[in-house]
């Protein structure tokens, strides 16, 4: 292969190193007004009074929205008012929106809005929310409009309940000689994309609604604005330029709604809302938290015979995407291990925390922490090497998943191969623990993961190809360039298929829902799989059209024609042929007669054979394939003060096939970095009022330069036969095993079992103190 696998430089690289790359907030005009949101200072409180009188008198103010009952929003359950009325359910919830001429004026006016609250009891955790006498976050849960497959339980804080029932539990427990049981938990945290969310809305005199937004889901914005506000979908145009990092956080639709309402309030003038970092952390949806209970039964060889799992997901104040997250967590609830007898209850719980959006890995890094710590506890109990235990239980073809999908040679990667490679990569045979001196010790921890993409069974992707008159090709795809380089890889795929120079393929980076064919959402590591398939179909379309016209001009059957280097030529006489530039806009004979016409290629893709899950057993096919991976983390731990340094982190992922080497490595290392930060330091600290105490990058600290470990990354290649060039998704997977591997390393290092995140020295110390 000529282009596939090569480290082709991303198409927008020059723009990004010169400051010319434009993100949503970089689009500005003199007529644009500024929106400023007033947010709730409490986790749970009744709104007694909103006084906007003084604020309205402030200079530059055009409109103030507050206290109004707008239609409820929310993807599975419509439980969320765009602006809170009656009560607030989380710290950071939007209550009022000020539209003014400048950001400064909007801010000044927003500061003058006086809101009187009456505090309500706060639901601090999913486990508290689950108690019978817990305060209710939504008193009228039964009255909300909801999707068919969602099952909220009125009178409780349960937004949905996904059940997995597989095999025979009694048989499983009988066959087990040993059991382990443990609880794990961690609070919500944040995505911290460097670009805070930003949306601009404008309503033209003919009713056309134009929205520009930093989103992973511009097509979903369009659908939801239609659904929520009964607008004409054909008149909603959503544009998304480059996005400055997303990580799942920009797959939810929130700020777009406020900008739309804001513009509507000022006669359709353009209104921009840019989140401050504090608003981005507090108001906009966050990374989900989890309370998990895991119970495994195993035989004397460590083969897991049975599992009982309960996940209480911290959906926060509104269910939005947390319903899907709860489902995804159930679908792969066991981690990448074959467990035939299984019972899992996955609940989406309402709490008074910021509500959840997807986070890179979509529930998998979270459940993986609980599963992988339990695996180590089992290994310890049975005195089996933790790596060997994982190898013995590894999922593979012939097994079925928790939702009873039969795995074959294509729809699952080779986990055992990943484990074997990891073993070499992290020099497992040298031993898990290495004494440095009487204080320092170096310890390794390992973990594994798997993931399918729980997405809508009818999720579409489309691609259009057009030509320039020099024979070069333009790709139009609805994939958003959020940093993953997907659009550059699409160009590589096309170059490979057409055997042409990738420099002669141009990619439209921006998405415009009116002219770009829909790509469902840029999520779930499914960009290449879906858009790549659509692209290959469009390529076939183009090839067919090029051959058709060339066959007339060359007076040769289509079947005798080959394509390469932007030419169509005779297979047995390559010198006889035509350059694309001579036929892509029709062919003109010397006398002026012309045939053919502009060549436009189209292709589409829809997921095959996905199903909804059976409400009683969970049986069903949630996603197309399972990517598997094995991980290791090595820390240098100080036994005196419980601090530690990340020395090495390793990931071996079955990628199927590498499409762009450096880009793939970058995705994996970046995900690992994010996973280590989630595991080791990132969390929301709440007070008794449910207030997040650290909504700033000074107190909420992602990894900084030099705090990263040495990364060891390698790939296993088990092609997915359905995917373009066999490639499996790889955008998320580096992250998934980091919390488990770090937790396992530190548990061994400190000599205590660690059950919470983030794994900060204070947590280790407290756990140690509690034990002694």
């Amino acid at each position: 292969m000529d282009v596939i696998g090569k480290s082709i430089i991303r198409k927008e690289a020059q723009d990004k190193v010169t400051g010319r790359a434009r993100y949503t907030h970089d689009h500005h005009s003199n007529t644009m007004l500024s929106g400023k949101v007033v947010i709730s200072p409490y986790g749970h409180a009744k709104i007694v009074k909103i006084d906007t009188i003084e604020a309205r008198k402030m200079p530059g103010v055009r409109a103030i929205l507050a206290g109004e009952h707008f239609p409820l929003t929310g993807e599975d359950i419509r439980d969320r008012p765009p602006l809170a009325v009656d009560k607030v359910r989380y710290h950071g919830e939007a209550i009022a929106l000020v539209i003014a001429d400048t950001p400064g004026q909007a801010k000044k006016a927003a500061d003058r809005i006086k809101i009187q609250y009456e505090l309500l009891p706060v639901v601090h955790s999913p486990i508290q929310a689950f108690q019978k006498d817990a305060p209710l976050v939504h008193e009228r849960l039964g009255e909300y409009i909801k999707e068919k497959h969602t099952s909220p339980v009125p009178g409780t804080n349960i937004a949905t309940h996904i059940k997995i029932r597989k095999g025979n539990m009694e048989k499983g427990w009988t066959e087990s000689v040993t059991t382990v049981e443990a609880d794990f938990s961690f609070p919500p945290s944040d995505h911290v994309a460097m670009e805070t969310r930003c949306s601009i809305a404008e309503i033209l005199p003919d009713g056309t609604i134009k929205i520009m937004t930093s989103s992973q889901a511009p097509f979903m914005v369009k659908q939801l604005i239609e659904k929520y506000f009964n607008e004409d979908i054909g008149k909603i145009i959503v544009e998304t330029p480059l996005v400055g990092g997303a990580f799942g956080g920009k797959a939810s639709v929130q700020l777009e709604i406020l900008a739309y309402l804001g513009s509507k309030a000022v006669g359709g003038l353009p209104v921009k809302i840019l989140n401050t970092r504090e608003e981005d952390i507090l108001m906009s949806p966050c990374h989900i938290g989890l309370d998990a209970k895991i119970k495994f039964g195993a035989d004397h060889l460590g083969i897991i015979k049975v599992a009982e799992i309960r996940y209480l997901w911290d959906g926060g104040a509104y269910s939005d995407k947390a319903i899907d997250l709860t489902r995804a967590g159930a679908v792969d609830c066991t981690g990448p291990y074959n467990i035939e007898n299984l019972w899992c209850d996955s609940y989406c719980m309402y709490t008074n925390h910021p509500y959840a959006s997807p986070f890179r890995g979509f529930s998998h890094s979270e459940l993986s922490f609980a599963i992988e710590r339990t695996m180590d506890l089992l290994a310890q109990k049975l005195q089996i090497d933790p790596l060997e235990l994982r190898y013995r239980n590894a999922i593979k073809q012939g097994h079925t998943t928790p939702t009873r999908v039969l795995l074959n040679q294509s729809n699952v990667g080779n986990l055992q191969k990943c484990i074997v490679r990891l073993k070499e990569l992290i020099r497992w045979d040298e031993g898990q623990i290495k004494e440095i001196n009487n204080r320092l010790v170096r310890v390794k921890g390992i973990s594994c993961s798997w993931k399918t993409s729980t997405i809508d069974p009818n999720a579409p992707s489309g691609v259009i190809l057009t030509f320039n008159r020099d024979g070069s090709i333009n790709i139009m795809s609805g994939v958003v360039e959020i940093g993953t380089g997907t659009k550059t890889v699409l160009a590589q795929i096309l170059a490979e298929r057409l055997k042409m120079n990738v420099d002669n393929i141009h990619v439209r980076m921006e998405v415009d829902t009116q002219t770009t064919p829909e790509h469902w959402k840029t999520v779930a590591s499914r960009g290449i799989y879906m858009a790549g398939r659509a692209l290959l179909e469009a390529a076939e379309d183009v090839i067919n059209q090029l051959r058709e016209i060339a066959s007339i001009v060359l007076r040769a059957p289509k079947e005798d024609l080959e394509l390469a280097d932007s030419r169509v030529f005779l297979r047995d006489n390559p010198l006889m042929g035509l350059h694309y530039k001579d036929i892509c806009y029709g062919y003109q004979y010397p006398n002026g007669n012309s045939i053919g016409g502009q060549i436009i290629g189209k292709g589409n893709f829809i997921m095959r054979h996905l199903t909804h899950l059976d409400p009683e057993t969970g049986a069903g096919k949630p996603g197309p394939e399972w990517t598997v991976a094995a991980y290791g983390v090595e820390v240098e731990f100080d036994r005196r003060d419980y601090t530690y340094r990340l020395v090495k982190a390793a990931t071996v992922v079955d990628i199927g096939n590498v499409l762009n080497k450096k880009a793939a490595l970058g995705q994996v290392m970046g995900a690992m970095s994010m996973g280590l930060a989630f595991a080791g330091r990132e969390t929301f600290y709440f007070d008794e009022y449910g207030r997040v105490l650290n909504p700033q990058l000074r107190t909420y600290r992602p990894l900084h330069y030099g705090e990263n470990p040495e990364y060891l990354v390698d790939f296993v290649h088990t092609p997915d036969l359905e995917a373009p060039y066999g490639a499996r998704g790889v955008g998320e997977h580096g992250l998934l095993g980091m919390p488990g591997a770090l937790g396992n390393a530190l548990s061994v290092a400190a000599g205590v079992s660690l059950h919470h995140l983030p794994l900060i020295p204070e947590l280790i110390w407290k756990t140690k103190e509690a034990k002694s």
Partner: protein
């Protein structure tokens, strides 16, 4: 709201702008001059996405008022043309989403000029003031070291 007219030396040009006393340099260069390469990320000096170069030193433009820049030479990412560090960022895949990139490059650029022989500790001391959420930092390390090695 008090406004004043000031002259700013930006990227070698003298630019006259009207600002409030409270306007940050970031707000002025983005909003008044249309130089949107410097990005707001936290407006609190924590992330470095807005880093520019002021009289040779990297400066977080969200922490400096526009009026403080009078009489100083300001260089933004738009003022860099074909520098080795820009090329090194491309070759080493030292960015993904690209949002932190202008700030990182401006910081690296100043580092290379001020400390052409920077060791690991110096590089860390300088670059830990910026946050990149996409990469794992090794690509950025390779990029900056590749330029330093050529010096």
């Amino acid at each position: 709201m008090k406004t004043q007219i000031i002259d700013l030396h930006v990227n070698g040009n003298l630019r006259t702008v009207t600002v409030r006393s409270a306007d940050t340099l970031l707000y002025a260069i983005r909003g008044k001059l249309g130089l949107t390469g410097a990005k707001p990320g936290c407006l609190n000096g924590d992330c470095g996405a807005c880093t520019v170069n002021v009289d040779g030193w990297p400066m977080k433009s969200c922490l400096m008022l526009a009026i403080e820049a009078v009489g100083k030479n300001v260089t933004t990412i738009e003022g860099l043309k074909n520098t080795p560090i820009q090329q090194a960022f491309i070759e080493n895949f030292a960015f993904q989403c690209g949002y932190c990139t202008p700030g990182f490059i401006m910081n690296c650029h100043s580092l290379i000029l001020k400390h052409p022989d920077a060791d690991d500790a110096t590089i860390k001391e300088w670059l830990e003031s910026n946050i990149c959420r996409c990469t794992g930092y090794t690509e950025i390390e390779k990029a900056v070291k590749s330029v330093l090695e050529k010096n």
